[in-house]
């Protein structure tokens, strides 16, 4: 077999594993209970490895918030002191089968979504999605919401999900894609479908009325509820495809506001990083370009399995982020085909005549064409202490892919 043939075969195997995935939401639980390797004073974060010194403003704000949330510090100043003194260890979510949106900070008492890939038996985890703490807001209000998730909504959802024996995700995603969701920044339909599915359980389980009502309002009115589930599902789908010998498919795209990093199946364990890019987007009232932080979050895991920017052609609500024309959005979806290994048999785009979404980003094709994946994402402030300030489109730096390709050639050409 020539090297090319070997790579093609490996990629076919990687694609097979990703498309064979069967993600099921099985639990909602505290991180300490479920995340492998979780321990006290460990803080997981989004993106490739980064230390406090190089951490961006928003992620620092989020880290401070988690220290306060855990009660490790009484106030922000103490939190900063202890972090700077090295009393907290930082590790990427991805090193623990986990993903987190924006700053993605997870500590022991943070409740996370738990998705199991029934086809392979592996599990993945994602923290709750909200618009404040994960953007660097460590105010009392922001942390209070985290507390409610931990004490009220998380446990309610846990009970409901367990009672249901798990919630199959695949069909929900397939339906939602047909309804204009793209599973990253547009999850309105899927959030509604999920919310409807769990709602009766809160009553059936006889949860305390206040808890049931509060959770119903939460799940029923949270436009980004499903993002946590779709991220965990995407992670669970891709993880079995890690470590396929000679495969050039991307298994992770993750950002921490300082760097953009990718991981490749045939180069498992290695990160290929470049400085985080700017997000090209729209800002909420009162914010200006110079306020914006750089690209951040593990949420690009959705693009890694062919959702998000890869299906933007079918998500009319996100159009505005791409520059405003339907043609352009469709063109993006077509472009992603050129850099991917194959198509999904399950997830279809009605706007492209029900074509399957492109799946399996191939680093060779990215470098060959010069076309990098399209990711649509939210924007955080560059300084700690703020919530979401906007959203838009971001393209990973090609440098990540050229670095990876060089390493790939080194390893496999011998």
């Amino acid at each position: 077999m020539t090297l090319k043939e070997k790579i093609e075969a490996a990629n076919a195997e990687t694609l097979r594993r990703i498309t064979a995935a069967d993600p099921v939401l099985v639990d909602v639980a505290p991180a300490a209970e479920v995340i492998p390797g979780m321990r006290d004073r460990l803080m997981l974060h989004s993106g490739p490895p980064v230390d406090w010194a190089r951490m961006c403003g928003a992620q620092r704000g989020a880290a401070i918030g988690m220290c306060l949330f855990e009660g490790w510090a009484k106030d922000p100043r103490e939190a900063e002191r202890m972090i700077a003194a090295g009393e907290i260890t930082f590790e990427p979510n991805h090193h623990h089968s986990t993903v987190g949106p924006m700053a993605g900070t997870i500590t022991s008492n943070m409740w996370v979504w738990v998705v199991e890939n029934k086809a392979f038996g592996n599990r993945a985890y994602c923290r709750q999605v909200e618009s404040f703490q994960q953007f660097g807001d460590y105010s009392r209000d922001a942390l209070a919401a985290l507390g409610t998730w931990r004490d009220v909504w998380g446990p309610a959802l846990r009970a409901a999900v367990r009672r249901m024996g798990g919630v199959p995700i695949k069909q929900m995603v397939a339906r939602a894609l047909l309804m204009g969701d793209e599973m990253h920044n547009r999850v309105v339909a899927s959030s509604s479908i999920f919310s409807n599915a769990v709602a009766p359980l809160f009553v059936e389980l006889g949860l305390p009325k206040e808890q049931a009502v509060s959770t119903l309002y939460y799940t029923g009115n949270h436009p980004f509820l499903f993002l946590g589930i779709s991220m965990a599902a995407a992670k669970a789908c891709v993880d079995p495809a890690r470590g396929v010998e000679a495969s050039s498919v991307v298994t992770a795209m993750a950002r921490n506001g300082t760097e953009f990093g990718i991981q490749v199946s045939g180069l498992d364990g290695e990160w290929f990083t470049a400085p985080a890019p700017r997000v090209n987007g729209l800002l909420l009232p009162g914010w200006k370009e110079e306020d914006a932080g750089l690209d951040m979050g593990d949420s690009a895991i959705t693009e890694t399995v062919g959702w998000g920017g890869f299906v933007i052609g079918g998500a009319p609500g996100i159009l505005s982020f791409t520059g405003g024309t339907a043609e352009q959005a469709l063109a993006y979806s077509r472009d992603m085909r050129a850099i991917s290994v194959g198509r999904s048999p399950d997830y279809l785009m009605p706007a492209l005549d029900f074509e399957g979404t492109a799946v399996g980003i191939d680093i060779r094709k990215v470098v060959q064409t010069g076309m990098v994946p399209v990711i649509d994402t939210a924007i955080a402030h560059k300084e700690p202490g703020h919530g979401i300030i906007g959203g838009g489109i971001v393209r990973p730096p090609i440098e990540c892919f050229t670095k990876a390709l060089k390493r790939f050639a080194e390893k496999y050409k011998g």
């Binding site: 090297l3 090319k4 790579i7 470098v367 060959q368 010069g370 050229t402």
Partner: protein, 57 residues
């Protein structure tokens, strides 16, 4: 070889044009099917990457 270049010399050729647009335009104007490739140098002109890709892709 049984019928060398039979596909080429019998029937109507279908063209893929890579490079100067005019070659394709001329054929199209003469009534032939031409697909023009929006070509750009491989690996964005990065010779080192293009060389790696020769063996990998």
């Amino acid at each position: 070889m049984a019928e060398p270049l039979k596909d080429l010399l019998q029937g109507k050729p279908v063209f893929v044009n890579v490079g100067v647009r005019e070659f394709g335009d001329t054929l199209r104007a003469a009534g032939y099917d031409v697909l023009h490739v929006d070509w750009s140098p491989p690996a964005g002109g990065n010779a080192e990457m293009a060389a790696l890709l020769d063996d990998l892709l």
